[in-house]
């Protein structure tokens, strides 16, 4: 009930004022499955890359975080081979930091930031950390 009202507002905002370098849309009027594309930021290892993401909105949204997954394979210490993202905002408290004041918009921005600044303290892919750490340092 809360989901449909909220998604309507969120989608219209994503349409009219998308975050920089990000586009997000609903697949054929279905508000439960969204798709997004993040542009690799200039100067980062992902420059000129297009990264596709699938976003699934659960029934209890916004009381539960959406499920976000990379569809494009990406070499990143916090994203595994399946495209799963290790980001506290995508998890329920107390483990994570999801709260209803966050939006799809802010999540996509966080993912964009995470791509540029990997979190080496909490890696999903241990072997990548050593290599990337030297690359970013």
């Amino acid at each position: 009930m809360q989901r449909s009202a909220r998604m309507k507002k969120e989608l219209s905002l994503l349409m009219t004022q998308p975050p920089f370098g990000v586009s997000c849309w609903a697949e054929d009027e279905n508000i439960t499955h969204l798709q997004a594309i993040i542009l690799g930021t200039e100067g980062s290892p992902y420059e000129n890359g297009l990264f596709k993401l699938a976003i699934q909105i659960p029934d209890r949204y916004p009381f539960e975080p959406p499920k976000v997954q990379f569809m494009t394979p990406i070499y990143h210490p916090n994203i595994d081979n399946e495209g799963r993202i290790c980001l506290d905002a995508l998890q329920m408290p107390p483990k994570g930091k999801w709260k209803p004041s966050l939006t799809i918009y802010s999540l996509l921005m966080s993912i964009q930031v995470l791509m540029n600044e990997p979190n080496t303290d909490d890696p999903l892919m241990g072997d990548i950390v050593c290599k990337v750490y030297t690359l970013f340092a």
Binding site: M1, Q2, R6, K9, E10, P62, M92, K99
Partner: protein, 372 residues
């Protein structure tokens, strides 16, 4: 039980014709109350089979058991047929009676039509095809249009119609057996006159304030929820009988915003002047300049719930605000409870839930009182 056909019943049922010499099969008609029903009788080893037209079957359906019983008990065919005829006549009388109950008598229609003609057909806003429900139009002194809904009983005009109208109180009227619709309309007009000043005061409020609730005020609505400032509103409940006296006021919203208004209200109560309109009085007593629809947008004051992003959720408005005066974010009680319940760090003491505000993260400042 055995059945035997006696030739003498030909005199009682002349329309039944034997089909064979053994007198075991008959075909013909049974008449009851002037109506004739086709039947087929078949006697076999002392058992009787009765077949009849569709209408006969429908009529006998409610008394099927009685038919079977008389079939068992009757020693002779003619006695059974006489009992069957009795049952048929009884059923026919009942259905006839039922039909008479369904439709009002002719006097109803003649009285109603003459009453409508007397009041004028231009007063009729709506009438249903059965002529049982009638909506009449009435204009008050200030040109407001009112609709009086009447539901007419079968005994009209001996019994009064049931009336309902969009008035702050029930419309009670006097009715004599000689009364007509015109009498009701006149009494309705008197009632309308009584509420003129009340509606004048309410209309003034509706036109010069942002009314959050009800969404579309009707003439009968005595409550209004008015915007005082962003994140703050007041709900007034006016008594239509003495509408110029002090209404009941409830302040809703962030404490930081509504606190000063509540203090003003308590201090300035003696300044309430029964000769002024409600709005003028509210402005003086609350010391407020109501945001006006002429100079502001409703969106500036209609603050969405911080969780579901909508304003109206199942007719509830975002009432609950964060206790942190720097945050003051508004939520629907329903949304807030659901969020606090889904977070494992939330603690509960009796009916109070303690948890973090989803916006400012301050626990100590953001405990919510939620009766669940």
């Amino acid at each position: 039980m055995s059945f035997s056909a006696n030739i003498c019943f030909e005199r009682i049922f002349p329309q039944l014709i034997p089909l064979n010499e053994k007198l075991t099969q008959f075909r013909g008609f049974i008449s009851a109350l002037g109506e004739e029903f086709e039947v087929m009788l078949h006697l076999e080893n002392g058992n009787l089979q009765l077949q009849g037209s569709w209408r006969l079957q429908q009529l006998l359906k409610p008394c099927h058991e009685a038919v079977v019983q008389s079939l068992k008990q009757s020693p002779e065919l003619n006695i059974f047929l006489l009992e069957l005829k009795d049952l048929l006549e009884k059923q026919l009388r009942q259905t006839k009676l039922r039909r008479e109950i369904l439709l009002p008598p002719p006097q109803y229609y003649s009285a109603l039509l003459s009453h409508i003609a007397q009041s004028g057909w231009d007063k009729v806003e709506y009438v249903d095809p059965d002529l049982n429900t009638l909506h009449l139009r009435a204009k008050d002194e200030n040109g407001r249009l009112h609709i009086l809904q009447l539901h007419l009983p079968r005994e009209y005009p001996k019994k009064p119609p049931v009336c309902s109208a969009d008035l702050p109180e029930d419309f009670v009227f006097k009715w004599l057996t000689t009364s007509s619709l015109q009498d009701i309309l006149e009494q309705f007009q008197t009632k309308l006159c009584f509420f003129q000043d009340f509606w004048m005061c309410m209309d003034e409020i509706d036109s010069s304030c942002w009314v959050l609730e009800p969404e579309k005020p009707r003439r009968k609505d005595c409550k209004r929820r008015l915007v005082l400032a962003t994140n703050g509103s007041v709900q007034i409940s006016v008594n239509p009988q003495c509408h110029r006296s002090i209404p009941e006021c409830q302040f809703l919203g962030a404490e930081r915003v509504i606190g000063p208004f509540r203090d003003n209200f308590n201090q300035n109560l003696e300044k309430w002047d029964v000769n002024s309109t409600i709005l003028t009085n509210l402005k003086i007593v609350l010391d407020v300049k109501f945001p006006s629809p002429c100079s502001s947008n409703k969106e500036d004051y209609v603050v969405e719930c911080g969780i579901c992003y909508s304003f109206r959720l199942n007719d509830a408005l975002p009432d609950k605000s964060c206790n942190n005066s720097h945050c003051s974010q508004l939520f629907h009680v329903e949304c807030l409870i659901e969020w606090l319940r889904s977070v494992s760090t939330t603690t509960q003491s009796f009916s109070i839930l303690f948890g973090e505000c989803p916006y400012c993260d301050m626990v100590s400042h953001c405990c919510y009182w939620c009766s669940s």
